[in-house]
Symmetry: C2
Subunit: 260 residues, 2 copies
Amino acid sequence: MTLATVATNVLTFVPAAAARTRMPVAPLKTSCSTCHLRDLCLPCGLNGSERESLDRLMFGRRKVAAGQALYRAGDKFRFIYAVRSGTFKSSLALPGDREQVSGFHMAGELMGLDAIANGAHASTAIALEDTEVCTIQYSHLNEAIAESGNIQLAMAQLMSREIVREHSLMMLLGSMNAEERLAAFLLNLSQRMKARGYSATEFHLRMSRAEIGSYLGMKLETVSRTFSAFQQQELLEVDKKHVRILDLERLGRVVATRMH
Amino acid sequence: MTLATVATNVLTFVPAAAARTRMPVAPLKTSCSTCHLRDLCLPCGLNGSERESLDRLMFGRRKVAAGQALYRAGDKFRFIYAVRSGTFKSSLALPGDREQVSGFHMAGELMGLDAIANGAHASTAIALEDTEVCTIQYSHLNEAIAESGNIQLAMAQLMSREIVREHSLMMLLGSMNAEERLAAFLLNLSQRMKARGYSATEFHLRMSRAEIGSYLGMKLETVSRTFSAFQQQELLEVDKKHVRILDLERLGRVVATRMH
DNA sequence: CGTCTTTTTGAATACTGTCAATTTAAGTGG
DNA sequence: CCACTTAAATTGACAGTATTCAAAAAGACG
């Protein structure tokens, strides 16, 4: 495992403002074969005919406005979702109105896999900005899986990847201090931006300091202080939610060294 | 999610010492239909004919002596393993000979699911005592999955359960103090012992203080101090690796309250 | 333009980590 | 079987880091 994969997060850099729609359900159908996210998303690694059998499932689309929930913990499980645009956070409820953020999700990433275990969603997914998702009915997906062994393999790989992702986060939470955590978070973000064709060194955070803190297991004040410290060390330029990484390599060394 | 599911761990209470064998590979074949672990393990939820189609895969068996590795990070992925007896830890390598324990595994639990993502094991599995596992060849398993939709469903559920399990641990690592972490760990252990027919209140820890600490994101000295504190609060009786829970309910309140 | 939220920063506190010493248990070889 | 060596666990004193509480500054929104 590389150090840069240690944190897993999300954010999007919208080149042009997307048209805003607040309808919760859109009737559009979606085809994987022609989707510009096909190499990041579920059809990743599948061949043409397998993609077409995904197309036959007729995935729906849904828009979720900023601040709204895609699903909530306890909701009956029917759909898996693939992010088309925008950013989500997923979180677990803690006693006393508090929440633990368990992940951030960006274009091409699947959501809802934790619901397969018990037939109900274990976490809540909230849109951090206006978003659009593909809705994938799980019962239909299983039929496609029965048809094609490679689709079964692809699903298993995606679920396994989620397990590996969480291993990384455990490592982060279990053995790093504040600076290492934030550095790992930013590096992971940087990688995911790059994979989506955006700049790896300059991006806009879609989540608040409190959400970053919850995800990284530290208080929002500590997140803010650590941003300031990185700025003083000339690793970053930070202006509220706009981040510019000045020295990617040195930021990587923050994670690797001093792992107390 | 209940608070008691927050940590996930392992230990076994061996009623009579098992015969010791150090052969790395045993030729025995195993049948799920007659296995006493069938309600905890892979065949959980499957009917008779589906279990028989698992039986046809002819799972092998393997003994792993205390301290030996079942697999190591980087090993090529061929098998998934089900614990038959004994306890494993899985861990990730950290820079500088250090390790992060990512889980403890006991009878009936599957191991190696994180290897599906990349075709190579992401973690290392070490036996904490003399153990025995079923070896399940992944390529064969996929054939059985193709035959039966329910086996596919069962596998997906097990993987999803692993994701949920790790969510819980993230919550623990992200938002609890030392006492809450150890209490959550012990409650989880207690539950898993109970599910296997052992006492829920008295058991033998198979892992060291350092391993517990690595898993819970704290130093071994803090683990030891917290055990002592619980003893003074008359929540536990601890003698090295032998633990007796005096008040399960109050231990539960330690987790629920004060979640700073 | 005023209100509410988010972010930043400071000062004091609390918790966990670090270092070190001691005790206990476990394993080794005479 | 016992003396010896090694490893694991406990406990204390101190240091370091992150949290808490508080206040001020900067945006966001109507």
